[in-house]
């Protein structure tokens, strides 16, 4: 089982056309997307942009989950993806509401100026 899983990861996933795309491609793509999300999160100032970078990170993780699920032939990864999508939707609803409130109260979307937590 473990042996099979290892070979699958190394061998990659078979497309409907019969070509084999190595799993590592998907994982690298996932890591790149995640890294971009992190960088955007840390360096951007606009709350909306930060929000989008969070979504990007979540979906990067989703991609990794799906990849492993497919490579290992197990369903758990895909179940997790659904969970993440659900949570992300909820988070978007709550988060956007917060963003709107911040904009109304402060007239800005710059996170540098939303730092009253430390007081």
């Amino acid at each position: 089982m473990l042996e099979h899983a290892k070979t699958s990861i190394v061998l990659g996933l078979e497309t409907p056309g019969g070509e084999v795309v190595p799993s590592s491609y998907y994982l690298v793509l996932s890591a790149v997307l995640f890294g971009l999300g992190v960088i955007a999160f840390v360096f951007k100032r606009n709350i909306l942009t930060i929000f989008m970078s969070i979504e990007l990170m979540l979906n990067a993780v989703n991609l990794a989950f799906v990849t492993f699920s497919r490579a290992l032939g197990q369903l758990q990864g895909q179940v997790f993806v659904f969970f993440v999508i659900v949570v992300a939707a909820a988070e978007a609803a709550v988060g956007l509401a917060i963003v709107i409130l911040i904009h109304r109260n402060r007239g800005t979307l710059n996170v540098e100026r939303v730092d009253s937590l430390k007081d």
Binding site: V38, F41, V42, R45, E112, V114, D115, L117, K118, D119
Partner: protein, 648 residues
Amino acid sequence: MPVLTYLWIIPLLPLAGAAANGIFGQRWSKSVVTSVALSSTTLAFLAALEVVREFLALSPDQIPWTKSYFTWISAGGFRADFALQVDQLTVIMLLVVTGVGWLIHIYSSGYMHDDPGYRRFFSYLNLFMFFMLVLVLAANYLLMFVGWEGVGLCSYLLIGFFFLKQSATNAGNKAFWVNRIGDFGFILGVLLIFRTFGSLDFASVLPRAATMPAEPAGQWGVLTTIALLLFVGAAGKSAQLPLYVWLPDAMEGPTPVSALIHAATMVTAGVYMVVRSHAIFLNAPAAMQLVAIVGCLTAFFAATIGLVQTDIKKVLAYSTVSQLGYMFLACGVGAFGAGIFHLMTHAFFKGLLFLAAGSVIHAMGGEQDMRKMGGLRKKIPVTFWTMFMATLAIAGAPGFSGFFSKDEILNEARQVSPVLWALGLLTAGLTSFYMFRLLFLTFFGKQRYDEHKVHVHESPKSMLVPLVVLAILAVGGGWMAAPQLWGGVNYFQHFLAPVLSSASDTAATATESTLGGSEIVQALLGAPVIAGLLGFLLAWWLYIRSPTTPENISASLSAPYKLLSGKYFIDELYAAMIVRPLVWISENILWHVVDEGVIDGAVNGVAHVSRESGDRLRHATSGNVRSYAAWIVLGALVFTSVLLWMVD
């Protein structure tokens, strides 16, 4: 056998009285408080009488009668039960404690009548009865220790009863601290008993100690160690050299307390404990010698101090120390029965002396200085006559209780060592002298108080009745031993004999020689009487015949007089050698170095470190979401790289 089965009821009655008065007494009237306190002790006394009646009906193989009520401590191999025991020794102690205690309770209801702390006083006094009864009824050393500590606590509470008086609280503290030294020895002894015998029950320890080989005088064995440790405890509780210093100060307490706790019962607990453990002591001759020597020296030493005291209660206090010395002398020479006999007669006559002294103080409106009394004989006749009886008893006048017990002790001491006997005899003379000095100064001669200021009056009935009852006991309490004089049976010794069976060897030899040389005995029985008579004559000469002589003597012999009236400056010596160094160490090392430096330093140091580090780390909480995110990323990177590095 109802009460023998429910022995716990005897100590529980005074405890209930103490609890009721202590908790609810505040709302009760004085008469309710009195009836609660008196009925609890009366019932305890009646229960004790019933126990004795049932006990006498037991067959010899049922004695000691032991009743275990529940397991108190059970840990590994250690087991201590809440178990009570009755044997002949317990019976005597039980009767003395409940009987004398009961009389003193009645007396107190009159003596303390106008005191604002009336309820508190009876609550403490009942509590004392409870602990004292636990002490004498206990069937193992640990339960005995509970009673032992409890009576110490009550002693402390009652010495410091007038807690607004600085000297009273000081005296209470002194009693408590000095007793700590003794109690430390006792508990070490108890632990060593458990280590040696694997049990603390009298029923298993003492027979085994009796069968162990006696340790020769030069050899320091385990039994000797146990005996010495127990004796340290006894010396603390029973005010023997060098731990006697607390007892004279304990006179700060109300006079009934002095009578009950510091004369009749608690201070004799040490003697009881030694007699109870006589099987251990008998096989440790070195310890026995020490007990005899310490007892004899204490008797003599305290008697000499008593010669020159002017406070009526102080004279009696030193007299108590001296008489306790006699009891230990008896134990030390193997005459445990005589020790208990003297304990009993002493409880009668010394309890009476204190109560009578209380009556005198009451009559004088609180005056305790004998130099300001005099000529009271006609004014308070009942007090005078009862006190006179007690004085005759303690001085060993033939036919009175003290005569039998003291002669027995001296007789036994003579067979062991002539030196101890001679010193004891000298002490008997001194005892007679200081007691008659007290009597003459108080009741005879010219009145030395201002009649307009002091309204001398006889005490109320509640105080006089106990005096009369105790006077009867002080006179007749020794007659059980009387047949011995004409070669008959000493009923007291005969009664105690089963308990002291392991001491029977010594006792047997003693009786043999007593019977063998009856002429010598008759002659020597006369010696203490003659000593007492000489003491009486000297006191009569000095304080009745020529009252100016004492002053001349004290003036011409100023150095010895100062030594005696300064109580050999033992208190000052202890203060210089022990108290002040301890205070210095406590203040300069324990307080300023250990407490302020180490303990406060550690606590404040921890607080300081956490505050400083918190102050530094506070800056990490910038409130900026992106910096938090950066920290998370950094943490995740570090974590991941560590994981990867570990996998490799």
